[in-house]
Symmetry: C2
Subunit: 391 residues, 2 copies
Amino acid sequence: MIQVSEAKELIIKNGITSRIEELPLLEALGCILARDVTAGIDTPPFHQSAMDGYAFSYENWDKKSNLSVEGEIQTGNYSSERLKANQAVRIFTGAPIPPGADTVVMQEKVLADNNAIKVLDENISEGGNVRPKGSQTKKGEIALKKGQLLTPVGISYLAGIGISKVSVFAKPRVSIIATGKELVQAGNEISEGKIFESNSIGLVAALHQLNIQPVSVELVDDVEEEIEQAISNQLQSDILILTGGVSVGDYDLVPASLEKCGVHKVFHKIKQKPGKPIYFGKYQQTLVFALPGNPAAVMSCFYEYVVLAISHFTQKKYYKTLDLPLTKDFSKKPGLTYFLKGKTGEADVSILDSQLSYLLNSFAVADCLVVLDEEKEHFKKGDLVPVSMIV
Amino acid sequence: MIQVSEAKELIIKNGITSRIEELPLLEALGCILARDVTAGIDTPPFHQSAMDGYAFSYENWDKKSNLSVEGEIQTGNYSSERLKANQAVRIFTGAPIPPGADTVVMQEKVLADNNAIKVLDENISEGGNVRPKGSQTKKGEIALKKGQLLTPVGISYLAGIGISKVSVFAKPRVSIIATGKELVQAGNEISEGKIFESNSIGLVAALHQLNIQPVSVELVDDVEEEIEQAISNQLQSDILILTGGVSVGDYDLVPASLEKCGVHKVFHKIKQKPGKPIYFGKYQQTLVFALPGNPAAVMSCFYEYVVLAISHFTQKKYYKTLDLPLTKDFSKKPGLTYFLKGKTGEADVSILDSQLSYLLNSFAVADCLVVLDEEKEHFKKGDLVPVSMIV
């Protein structure tokens, strides 16, 4: 039986490196860039008016004459006619400055009369109200760096500089196998001794929260051949998660089945509560988590260990960890790290009732797991404790 | 021109109430429950062993005799045979306690010999290691309350008590219309005076982040009839977002087009930077946001105002707001609230460079907007400022 910190180190150490994949921009939302993104064009692609107003040449203007207005350039149009001294053109925000012009005066700062304007802006200077070509991003320049999380604004930014595909760290292919003779799928009747299967549904939801669609979800009976068949069918996934059958009872067939399928055990059992019997192994490049069947243990182990492996794979941090003061005293037995369902307040955290591993009623309204140190027994109100956020 | 706080109040005041819809459990992930969820069954549905061990009647046991083992109950099976005094049955975690039994002794705390066991657990008491029927949730009891965010664990919990559908506040139907003669769709060549359209793409990504798939995304030219047609086609949406054409230039046709389509103006212009020309209106039950076309203004207005309306609709809080100290002095002009691209550190926030409304290069790596008060001019390092998180 190993400690929580050792288990986490072993997961990282055995962690697999993500594939790099090229995705259409919108599909890459929330992914981490695996390569620098280089701007394909100058942005703005031309000297652009920043205002509705009049464009002219500052240098060629005598600073006192009215400017004669020689037509207009609507945003989206352009003019290739070169402006002469003391000439101006009506221009709009986003429109290209015509040849010969370098400065824009705002429409609110002129006196317009027929086809001439008088410039009233005393502070006007050369290049004023013009967004120079390439002033955001120059062609060939790195627009976003490898390792950057691609946010909605990042997507807008890249779209604006002509990028339609990006290379990101791929999401893992995840398979789920829930084992247990007692499990009945939702929508059916439960007869004596049976319960509704919920672990795979909770795991699917937790994966959806990370924008991962599992490649396979299967329910199998506590029968060796069936478990082995299900495992070997899914060993081409990046991460295989099993639930149930991982303890030492006569029908806990999962560890032996994994061994038969060639999975190499990395650890079995962590000094923790809930989820002590957790198993972690590896088959070639596939990570295998076999989680104890109690619903709270499944979800707790998912957030503490499986998310760690996924994070390592995608290079993305999914949940925050904080240190927060407890709202009440709490005592536990020494020798196990406790992961307790908690609810954060403005700047503190409360440990909820109903912590037993078969109960989910408080976990369902929790927003975090409160991590209580293996060796420590007594925690006082106000003691800072590590908190793993889960929403 | 109104203040930011007035604008937010007007959005809330004109906000529309969400429809309630019934969704399959997994599809309701991340939604807010619109009705209490009542447990359809007792959970556990029977008295359940919490351990691998032996079940027996504590009361009918003479506390010294060995117990004779009368068969076994595998998890998923059951036995209707009543145990007699000093009899036990081999039982596994999750299996139903047979009639006549009420207590389980762990397998590690017995001496097993042929078909008899000697109980070695000195602390054993009546009901020990048994999870009573209904001890998590009783049939007819409220399992989760209206207003609760449905988390992955919540989904696992409800699945376990036999719930397959829930009533939640629906997500809004959102339509997007990007206006501008200068806009070219990604994948095409941009000719002189044109730019790549990115506002609608950024908005779609931002909606995806909220798990909302817009019902329509359209690009239209700066032509009155086209804008009016596009608007009237989308007035059955819950929220209509337009970009561009909302200022006072000759080609800013959106406010007039909205009026022609029967949209009632609630406000036009907010004392803010960026996004001053923002328009907000209402048509029957449809909220209409017309955002200025500069990319940074679009995204900033989305996070500050559109998300507020969506939040009101779905009853869900999407992003945190915090008060954090500035890492550096900052000065601004008084009279406008500034929304500045920021990046949070461990416990502070930095204002990024490149704040102009046509630039997205720093916004793309920002994780928040720093809100600087309308009236204030000078901010010192260490001053606490409101921060709207956006990731």
